[in-house]
Symmetry: C2
Subunit: 344 residues, 2 copies
């Protein structure tokens, strides 16, 4: 589990100075079966078998029986954005089917019978949509998804009905945060029918200047229209962010350098690092690398740190459960090691 | 001037983990001449000649005509604790006579005709008093100092009359500061008739947990009694400080390590450093070195930093006047260089 390949973490993607990842998620349910929240265990097991059997025919995909995955490993999957928190803690019969690079992740018996996600590095919604649609097409050759002429694909929660498509991007916006323009941008984004959230979904804070942008509406526009719209909005945000960074460099280069170097220094030497502080410094590191103000650190390493310093990642690291105070010590040690290794 | 030798900065002394320096200062005035504040320029010039002529017979001593010293250089002498701020900015005819290692510094026409100081590294008041008394003895062979049977040596300000002796130590008390015990110690010290002040005298803050302890009373007790008393009080404070450091190490070693490493990291990499922040980090560095928590850095280097990062030191460094904002940049660069040089 520790060595799980994860495309969005380890590979290069377009616009990755601002966009960490793009994600397409499709919600589907099997015709003739109640949605998971109101489905009897026996029927849920049938659904699981039907979907998993078909999905396991995808070449080199891995099937994980989620009820046999250790809770810490389940949390690790959440931290890598491969499953939802609800899916990790659920007790339904459920499985996760992963492509070799984890670009494609299929959750069986989450809120819907099937949640199909394609998660790619950088800004490439077209690519993600194309891959997700291909896999959905393969599955629908033998599986009948509940579909209504008026409402489109039917889903457990009406907010997903229609296309069942949620497109989201994870953006790093330290420049806009620095010049206090985030609120303004978020308002504009909301007015365009998109939602802005913290890194780990609803209700989470945007630690480290990381935010998720996603479409609100799934019913009405076509899949292609949804994808085109979020893509256009992300490109606009990227422009704003890059312009903010250029402005910072021209107006107060030394102050930005100072902040970036201090963050690198603290990450290299601190013995105790709380999660939020670490995220802030990692944000400055990412900015400093993008602006060539500090020594280059591979973006893959920065992505890896981002997930390995989360609670489950740290517990995998140390091999046992950790109290919050202990995590801060393990987090600091892990970051120190990773940066030292990168320097060699 | 930049390469001025300064014993208290460059040499090792007893108890230097806590005591940066010990100082004995004697105030003397020539019989038959009014004190400088009420003395005509012609008479002041006579006083200057009399004292300087005699002092210049001390072997290898240097005489500086203070009216020909550049104001920045005068400030540098203040920052090295060789002269007082008032002496630096005065326009009286005045001179400074220095021993080769600057242990002995004679200010002619400060508030009194003669202020004789012996400044030594670490806690060694006996040594400082012995040297100061020797030099005073040499001068008094040809100079007649104003002396009254009842009041002892007469001085411009009555608070110096009697022995004319002010003994002071510069102490580094990060342990007591950490456990919030400084106020309590200061109260005890005051009750013993001693005064506690910031690093650069009255009204200055105790930046970097550095404080000056000195005797309040000059009239009544003998020189030996004054010296013995401040020495005993300093030894008591050292015990408290060392006990606080031991307590910190046993109770929260990791937190102390974290603070020390962070300070070292920031001093190594920051691009902008305000004076107070730099002093705080230097304080942690000194603590970390004393407790062997971070790589050893020579105490002389830490002392040198302490004075070279002050405004005049920085202006000498850069060769021209600096606005406060520019100082923060030069300060950060200088510290970075000094630490990098020390690592090589």
């Amino acid at each position: 589990m520790k060595d799980l390949q994860c495309a969005w973490l380890g590979e290069m993607g377009p616009q990755q100075g601002v966009v960490l990842s793009s994600r397409i998620r499709l919600a589907r349910n099997l015709e003739g079966y109640p949605f998971p929240p109101s489905c009897r265990p026996g029927s849920l097991a049938d659904v699981l078998t039907l979907i998993t059997d078909r999905a396991s025919q995808l070449p080199d995909y891995t099937v994980l029986d989620m009820n046999r995955v250790h809770p810490v490993e389940a949390h690790l999957l959440v931290e890598r954005h491969l499953i939802s928190p609800a899916f990790a803690s659920s007790t339904r019969p459920r499985s996760l089917v992963l492509s070799p690079d984890s670009r494609i992740a299929l959750m069986c018996n989450e809120e819907d019978h099937l949640r199909l996600q394609c998660l790619v590095p950088g800004l490439q919604f077209d690519q993600a949509w194309k891959q997700a649609a291909e896999v959905e097409g393969f599955l629908s050759q033998t599986l009948s998804f509940a579909f209504d002429e008026q409402f489109g694909y039917l889903t457990a929660c009406p907010s997903n009905a229609g296309t069942g498509l949620r497109a989201s991007a994870m953006l790093h916006l330290p420049g806009l945060a620095w010049i206090n323009a985030l609120e303004n941008i978020f308002q504009q984004v909301s007015q365009l029918g998109l939602t802005v959230r913290g890194l780990y979904g609803e209700g989470t804070q945007s630690a480290g200047h990381l935010v998720q942008v996603s479409n609100q509406v799934t019913l009405g526009p076509s899949e292609e229209e949804i994808v085109a719209k979020i893509n256009a909005v992300c490109e606009q945000i990227i422009q704003y962010e890059c312009s903010a960074r250029r402005q910072l460099i021209s107006d107060q280069r030394l102050v930005v350098e100072d902040r970036c170097w201090r963050s690198l220094a603290i990450l290299r030497e601190a013995r105790i690092l709380e999660s939020n502080e670490a995220m802030q410094h990692l944000s400055m590191l990412r900015l400093g690398v993008d602006l060539s103000l500090i020594p280059s650190i591979p973006i893959a390493l920065l992505n890896e740190m981002l997930v390995r310093i989360r609670p489950a990642g740290l517990q995998m690291e140390s091999g046992h459960e950790l109290a919050p105070g202990e995590r801060d010590v393990v987090r600091a040690r892990l970051i120190r090691q990773m940066l030292a290794d990168a320097q060699e």
